[in-house]
Symmetry: C2
Subunit: 237 residues, 2 copies
């Protein structure tokens, strides 16, 4: 059973769950991944804890993790990029596999994450400052392009806030210029490294989607691969 | 924290979760309902247990219920109409409120569930045979219109199976004539009393949606009302 540490934000968790179902090859209910999704929107905010001296969400994240494991989760996933700032501390004592959203996104990038590739990164300030993506993509020889401070303030951050408030089409229109800016600056592809942002683009049916890699979808697909391997193992036994 | 008994089917559970988030008035993550969604698509199939001598899903449903309560759920909901056949047995010893999908749908119907109203019912054979809706709507003086056996075999049941297989637009086109048939037969409104069916109609943007009441949305709204009352109580203390 897959355990999902969710609620950051709740709509992104719902989007992840939907993608998990959509991506599972299934003829019947029984073929689907058994899942326990714990959506706890009251987890202390991640950005102030990384960027300032806000309360750390780590104790709350540990409680959610432990509750999922106690309830029978045999693997974990967390569809929030910023919260992966605490991944090492969450995973170190974890008795079950914990799928990393950046590993999943790298797998989804495939050939696009080759040496010399220029990858745009749409993320929260905290994900950027916390360097959640940097080491993994640098190890592959990729160059990261970040939105300018002005693009962050005018486009990326307001768009994420709009998704959290349910203003989805508005969020899509707000976000689009930041992605166009990264493509104009030479990005080969743009990583939607905040799980609110694919929801924004989908709401306006943006053609920019084709130039982007969706970290939520990437994590869902990694979870489906985990389940299919496990289901096959279970059948083979 | 709301506990959700899900997985029957998984896409309907994901649709319920999305509607729960969409229907919650929220300016920030923190305003949303804390939820534990347990999606167990391996629960024994409901229709054969009601219509034939198939294995009962009740023990599995009880295990899911108990796991949710053990993990801290303070109210329960189950976004599957057919599974409400076992509601009384699930609710009788339940230490927390268990919101009933038919009560939620009756609340959503409002004035449309007045005495003398004719309500079409789109549901599985098992929900119809198990009379999940009958007593509550009869008590209000409503007359229920069911699809003909031919409409069930040609439209309703294939459409539900198509949703479970992810063929959503096809499912919408398959379902539409059954709804039109009920409206032609004089239904004032049609209750989508199977949580797969709103997904089918949404996939084709069907204008029939306006004549239908969505039991998934009704249950999500009932859960939001539960949460808002609780949140207000918690704030007042």
């Amino acid at each position: 059973m897959l355990g999902v540490i969710g609620g950051m934000g709740p709509l992104a968790t719902a989007d992840f769950f939907r993608k998990l179902v959509d991506e599972t090859p299934a003829a019947n209910d029984e073929d689907h991944v058994p899942v326990l999704v714990h959506s706890v929107p009251q987890i202390p905010r991640r950005p102030p804890a990384i960027l300032a001296d806000g309360e750390s969400p780590l104790p709350a994240l540990c409680r959610v993790r432990d509750r999922l494991i106690a309830a029978g989760a045999t693997a974990l996933a967390m569809p929030c990029n910023t919260a992966h700032y605490w991944y090492d501390e969450l995973a170190i004592d974890c008795p079950v596999p914990f799928l990393h959203i950046v590993d999943a996104t790298v797998a989804e990038l495939g050939d696009r994450a080759r040496s010399g590739a220029r990858l745009g990164l749409i993320a929260t300030e905290a994900t950027l400052a916390g360097q959640v993506y940097d080491a993994r993509l640098a190890a592959l020889g990729c160059e990261l392009l970040r939105p300018s401070p002005e693009q962050m303030q005018r486009h990326v951050l307001p768009s994420i806030a709009q998704v959290k408030q349910g203003a989805l089409a508005e969020a899509g229109r707000t976000l689009a210029p930041a992605i166009e800016g990264l493509l104009d600056a030479g990005a080969d592809a743009v990583v939607l490294a905040c799980t609110e942002t694919p929801i924004a683009l989908d709401a306006i049916g943006s053609p920019l989607r084709a130039r982007c890699v969706d970290s939520t979808l990437a994590l869902a697909r990694a979870c489906v691969r985990w389940w299919l391997a496990r289901r096959t193992e279970a059948t083979a036994k």
